[in-house]
């Protein structure tokens, strides 16, 4: 995973709440067995609508998405994060995220920045007034700024640390292999195993 310290880019206002992961990428687009190429399914149901924000020429090339509350609720599909990243997003800003979506973002390198609803409203107003406004997201300082606005965002410390350093979770965990083996030795005998199969 690439390290993430600071990102500067333009932002799209997504004035909707409860954008669940089925809206971010419908299930029919999840059939690929590869890790890339999911941008075609991003917001598939809305992409034919010329009024949809990402279809407006003034929001071409955006890399920050500012969404209403409860963004990424629903299914656990990490494809939702991949679709956003494949499309070009590096940061999603919202006042509330689905838990699994937020976890997946941290794993895949998409920054899910949690702000107050008031900050979302201000960001919407700013980038609607001037879509070319540069939005700066500083993970070191945990701040987001655009035009006159500068506001803090929340992210859990551990995800922040991993993003800043571009660390791979599996590698970190395997450095604690001895702890895992020690734990395994204490598991009770009555715990089930899938093998050998019983019918």
């Amino acid at each position: 995973m690439d390290a993430f310290t600071q990102h500067i880019g333009t932002a799209a206002p997504l004035r909707r709440s409860n954008v669940d992961t089925d809206q971010i990428i419908p299930a029919v687009y999840l059939k690929r067995v590869t890790r890339t190429g999911f941008e075609d399914g991003l917001f598939a149901a809305w992409r034919n609508d010329p009024e949809f924000v990402l279809n407006k020429p003034e929001y071409d090339g955006v890399s920050v998405l500012v969404a209403g509350p409860d963004f990424g609720t629903g299914s656990s599909r990490e494809h939702a994060v991949w679709a956003l990243m494949d499309f070009g997003f590096r940061v999603v800003v919202s006042a509330r995220f689905g838990d699994i979506f937020r976890g997946n973002s941290g794993k895949a390198g998409l920054l899910a920045a949690l702000v107050t609803e008031d900050v979302v409203e201000q960001l919407w107003a700013t980038v609607e007034k001037d879509p070319g406004t540069k939005v700066t997201v500083d993970l070191e300082a945990k701040t987001i700024s655009a035009g006159e606005l500068s506001a803090p965002f929340e992210i859990d410390d551990y995800t922040r640390y991993r993003l800043l350093n571009g660390l791979d979770d599996v590698g970190i965990t395997l450095s604690h292999e001895a702890d895992i083996s020690t734990y395994e030795a204490t598991r009770p005998a009555f715990k089930p195993a899938t093998l050998p199969a019983k019918a």
């Binding site: 709440s17 409860d70 838990d99 976890g103 997946n104 599996v170 702890d179 895992i180 899938t194 093998l195």
Partner: protein
């Protein structure tokens, strides 16, 4: 001070704790399916890592599989590739897999419990948000993304921040004809889709204790629909009698030791929760959703709400959008809403008890003209059980379609989808825009409401049906 059920199970699985870091949790059971696993196995291959515990891992194919012609190759080539990829990965990494046509193939959250692999006090994960289902046994069970699937395959652990605790207490007795599905839909309508965020929820109280394991699974299954990390119910005699004869249940002295441990898991009297919610079972009625998230629900006896009924500006906007998408007019009685398709199935309501409940309503009756009904058992074993009880005949005689096992129309990844504008009454878990097919309109309901709706062709409860002249046979 005492501990809650979830705290006890959590503490028993901490491999490593360090201040300022998430806990490293041991995972007792990892369920794998074809959609969220291919990139995880690829990751292992790239890093040259094995699956640490194939003996704590089990795979099945459910999301993509057809429910017709299951003995033929999958017609959709992309779906077939995904299913074939899982089969190859299972073989390469030594993982047990149940493929199409095997009685233990089916929705991943149906097969774990039916094999007896889901037990109290465990940690269970799967790359699927409805993993919360397994919490019905007193396990901590939650959905994970593909990066985490890879992490569990490689290490049999997960890094997890400790969630807060919440109690949902339901006292009293559920009225006749009111099911677990109605209860959980009513709860979500009250607390909203984000109400459980950051919490592991324990469902407790007299009404929960009275529920069967199937009904408990329905409740825990929907925990994710109000944002909870997981939902749990303390194990009791109902749990043990469900588990006792299952293939992977502990045997002999192991059973005794297990029960003794499981009995110690209940929340201590002096434990406290970070948040508590109470409901009265008597207040719950048959419930349906009218909108495009599971929190947009009302009793079946109500009218379609108006955006003006909501104070919150976001909810107002969401209601306006939802009514437009659903093609509904505020003020219409829900009982007058015509339904094109009834879907009975899914990890929420695709178990034998759900099929029995619906068959009990359909016996001696017919599905309305202009309405189709799909019955999709949750697993091959549920299908065989239903057929041995003659339920398939009741469904077919009523004019419903009897299908093979899988996720099917719950998420429409296989050919079972709604057409644009088509309206369903569905026993599944999500009424999101396009969930069951692009432009499809979903009303979430219980199996009883689904069956009655199939008969009348409009949203209905069994009490809305004309009594039958001939009594229903006793076995349903």
């Amino acid at each position: 001070m005492g501990r809650t059920l979830s705290e006890k199970v959590w503490d028993a699985h901490v491999v490593r704790h360090a201040d300022g870091e998430p806990d490293l949790l041991y995972i007792d059971l990892h369920l794998v399916h074809e959609v969220t696993s291919p990139q995880a196995f690829d990751g292992l291959r790239l890093a040259g890592r094995p699956v640490r515990r194939p003996d704590l891992t089990i795979a099945t194919e459910d999301h993509n599989v057809p429910t017709l012609d299951v003995d033929k190759p999958i017609a959709d080539l992309v779906s077939r590739t995904q299913v074939d990829t899982l089969r190859k990965n299972a073989k390469e990494f030594g993982i047990r897999i149940h493929t199409l046509g095997d009685p233990d193939q089916g929705v991943v959250h149906v097969i774990g419990p039916q094999l007896g692999l889901t037990q109290p006090g465990m940690t269970v994960v799967c790359g699927d948000s409805h993993t919360s289902t397994h919490g019905a046994f007193g396990a901590i069970a939650f959905g994970i993304g593909t990066s985490e699937v890879e992490h569990v395959l490689a290490t049999q652990t997960l890094m997890q921040a400790r969630p807060k605790t919440m109690a949902v207490t339901v006292d009293g007795v559920l009225p006749d004809g009111v099911s677990a599905k109605d209860l959980v839909l009513a709860l979500i309508a009250q607390v909203g889709t984000g109400g459980g965020q950051g919490y592991i929820v324990e469902y407790r109280g007299e009404a929960i204790r009275a529920l069967s394991m199937e009904a408990r699974m329905t409740i825990c299954n929907m925990s994710i629909e109000w944002g909870a990390k997981a939902g749990m119910i303390a194990p009791d005699e109902t749990t043990y009698s469900y588990l006792k004869d299952k293939p992977h249940a502990p045997q002999g002295v192991d059973w005794e030791a297990a029960v003794e441990y499981w009995n110690s898991l209940a929340t201590d009297d002096d434990a406290s929760f970070d948040r508590e919610i109470s409901l009265r079972a008597e207040d719950i009625a048959p419930f349906v959703t009218w909108g495009t998230n599971p929190g947009q629900g009302v009793p079946l006896s109500a009218n379609v709400p108006s955006p003006d009924d909501f104070d919150d500006e976001n909810e107002k906007v969401a209601a306006t959008r939802a009514l437009e998408y659903m093609g509904l007019t505020a003020g219409t009685p829900l009982r007058e809403v015509r339904v094109d398709t009834v879907f009975l199935g899914s990890c929420t309501n695709g178990r034998i008890e759900d099929l029995r409940a619906a068959a009990g309503v359909l016996a001696g009756r017919k599905v309305a003209d202009g309405t189709r009904m799909l019955v999709v058992p949750g697993s091959g074993r549920v299908l065989l059980q239903a057929e041995s009880e003659g339920l398939d005949k009741i469904f077919k005689d009523a004019g419903a379609e009897w299908r093979g096992a899988g996720c099917s129309m719950c998420l429409g990844m296989n050919p079972d989808t709604l057409a644009p504008g088509e309206r369903s009454a569905s026993t599944s878990n999500r009424n999101f825009e396009g969930r069951q097919g692009k432009g499809g309109r979903t009303h979430l309901v219980s199996p009883l409401v689904a069956a009655a709706t199939a008969v009348l062709g409009t949203l209905a409860a069994p009490t809305d049906l004309q009594p039958l002249d001939v009594p229903v046979p006793e076995n349903v």
